[in-house]
Structure formats: structure tokens, C-alpha cells
Symmetry: C2
Subunit: 206 residues, 2 copies
């Protein structure tokens, strides 16, 4: 994906050095989210992005070498924002199942406000497979860490492993798609309660 | 996506009328799965597909109007094959949780044998969004039907609804990606047992 002269890693000299620079880079990332979300990677253009951002074309190249590099930076940025959005909803004092509920509720609210997130992460499977995989591996690792903490505190069973984290992540991603992106007929809290209830006692009648 | 002269629906006169025709169409679908899976929709070519299928270019146009139409037919075909693969693993006499286990195990085995399925279904989000949505809606509807049957038989709680089906589907899709496509370090049965156990009793210590 990366061109001959870009190595897909943001070079140190491309990092903003001033508050104004940071703001411009943020504007470019936000504009890129809209442009990629609306048009998809292939149809999106650098000029489309700078126009949305209201910045000069030169500013783009101050921070990014190529459309590919911007896309990768955007996937990492979205991944980091989902993470911090969820983190801000949780505290260490909550019961482990309540934390999982809040993580999903927070993710669904984020997805409702940033509906382009699914399209961008999903397109990364094709445009930047390493970032796609890194996003899900990091998310699953965070969930697993919470499950281990919950087991230590006595809230959760102590035989939980990576597959449990992937199962929870899958539940969250599909509930977010169905009830966050495709329709908002139910509140995020209502859906997150259903997921919490599955984790609390399963679906068996016994 | 559909061109001016194709309406994205297979026209009746393009259906094979002979066993030989059916076999040719099957060959084209199997070749398309490999070509789209390997190259992605945009890079895939009709000649690449007919070469893999070992058929003449003319055969392609006997059954499909365009690459778009073949792609849509392939998504529907894969969706139907996943369905019948799972159905063949289940009987009405199994406990409802055991049926969910077998559905996941069967899906994972199918995905291991047809690793291109994720890439093709996932690319449908961009190439043929209607088929993408139809695939997941149909899958969730099937799961929900099983949950309702399970409730009727007394195996499952009788307050299960659509969101439970989407949660289970999400679990299955992500467990299939992680342990069916990315690595086969654990058996499908082992992973399906973990999912069944979540559905049986949740992950709480209490």
C-alpha cells in the first residue's frame, strides 16, 4: 500500500510542534473521517479532505506523505478514541459486569456520533490489513485485561481466557452495528443491559 | 453498482437448464470465490475467473451479466452454503445450547475450508451493501428462530429477542475470524464449547 518513498510510519519530523499544528492535524483527521466514511478509500481524494478541513493542500503534506498514510493514521486515531471514550466511562470501583456494560454503552454512543467508524475500520481490512488486525487485537487484549481484573476481584470466573474476550468484542461490534449504525430504535443503555445480562447468567432457562 | 442494463437480479433466462449448465455455473462461482478472495473485487477480472474455472469467456456471459452480478450471486451463494452447512450439523432433538454450539463449530469448520469467505462477505459492505445487510439479517433471523424454539422446549429463557441473536452472531463471527481464519491453534469444537459455556451460565463468579 505504501508508496516507494513512504514507509507507512509517521516520520518524527512530521509531528506537529505547536498547538496550532496539532489543531490542523486534528482538522485533517476529522475531515478524513468524513471523506473516507462517505466516499470510501479509493474515491476519497486529498483535495477533498483539505477542502473539508478548510486547510491549504500544503498543510496536508506537512503532516502526511500520502492518502495511504493518512488512512492508517485515521484507523489508529479512531481506535485510540474508542479506547479513551470507553475508559472515561469506567472506574475501577465498578463491578466487572457493570464495567463491560459501560464499555459497550460508551462504544455504541461513540458509534452513533461517528457513524463513519464502521466503514473506516472495515475498509482497513482491505486498505491497511495490519492496522485492521492491530485494532481488534488491541481491543480484545483490553477486554481480556478487564476480565482478569474482574476475576481477581472475585466478580468473574477465573478460567476466562482470550476466546472470552473475542466473544465479548464480537457481541459488542455486532450490537453496535445493528443498534448503533443501522437503527437507533433502542437506547445504547438498553442494548448494553441485554449484553450484560448474557454475561451475568447466560440464556439458559435452567 | 449495477450497470444501466443489468438490474442486479438474475434474469430467469440466465438460469442453467441442464446438469452440465449447473456444473458450469458452480465452477464459475467457486472460481470467483478464489479470485475475489485473493485479489479483492476491484482487482479481480472476469477473464481471471473463467481461466480459474477452465471455462470459455462465453460461458460467463451465459450465466452472468457482469462482475457485479457475479459478486452478488457469490455472496448469496456463500450465505446459503453457510446456512446449509450449519443446518446439516443440527437436529431438532438436540438441546438448544448444544445446537448453538454445533452451529458455531460447523461455521468455523466451513470458514477454515473456505478462508476467502470473510474477505468476500466483508467486501460486500462496500461492493454490494444490500447483500451484506441481507446476509447478516438472515443469519440473525435464523438464530432468533432457534432461540424461540429453544425457549418453547424449555431449554432457554423465554425473554430472548433479536438483540440476543445479534450478540450470538457477533460472538460467532469474531471467534471464527480469530480461531478459524487468523490461526487454528485451537479446534473448532474447543472454541464452540467456550461460546456454549458463555450462553449456558455467563462469565460471572456468582
Amino acid at each position: 500500500m505504501a508508496t516507494e518513498y513512504s514507509d507507512h510510519v509517521e516520520s518524527a519530523d512530521k509531528q506537529p510542534r505547536t498547538a496550532r499544528g496539532l489543531k490542523t492535524k486534528r482538522k485533517l483527521l476529522d475531515a478524513a473521517a468524513l471523506e473516507f466514511g462517505e466516499k470510501g478509500f479509493h474515491e476519497a481524494s486529498i483535495t477533498g479532505i483539505t477542502q473539508r478541513a478548510g486547510t491549504a493542500l500544503g498543510s496536508f503534506y506537512t503532516y502526511f506523505d500520502s492518502k495511504d498514510e493518512l488512512f492508517s493514521a485515521l484507523v489508529k486515531d479512531m481506535s485510540a478514541r474508542v479506547k479513551s471514550h470507553a475508559a472515561s466511562a469506567m472506574t475501577k470501583w465498578q463491578d466487572a459486569l457493570e464495567r463491560e456494560k459501560l464499555a459497550l454503552e460508551s462504544f455504541m454512543n461513540f458509534a452513533r456520533e461517528h457513524k463513519e467508524i464502521y466503514r473506516i475500520i472495515d475498509e482497513a481490512e482491505f486498505v491497511d490489513p495490519d492496522s485492521y488486525r492491530a485494532h481488534y487485537e488491541a481491543t480484545a487484549a483490553r477486554i481480556l485485561e478487564r476480565l482478569k481484573e474482574g476475576a481477581k476481584l472475585g466478580d468473574l470466573r477465573n478460567d476466562l481466557e482470550e476466546a472470552h474476550a473475542w466473544a465479548i468484542m464480537g457481541m459488542n461490534v455486532f450490537l453496535g452495528l445493528r443498534y448503533g449504525i443501522w437503527s437507533e430504535e433502542k437506547s445504547s443503555a438498553e442494548i448494553a443491559d441485554i449484553a450484560k445480562d448474557i454475561l451475568a447468567r447466560g440464556i439458559s432457562a435452567k
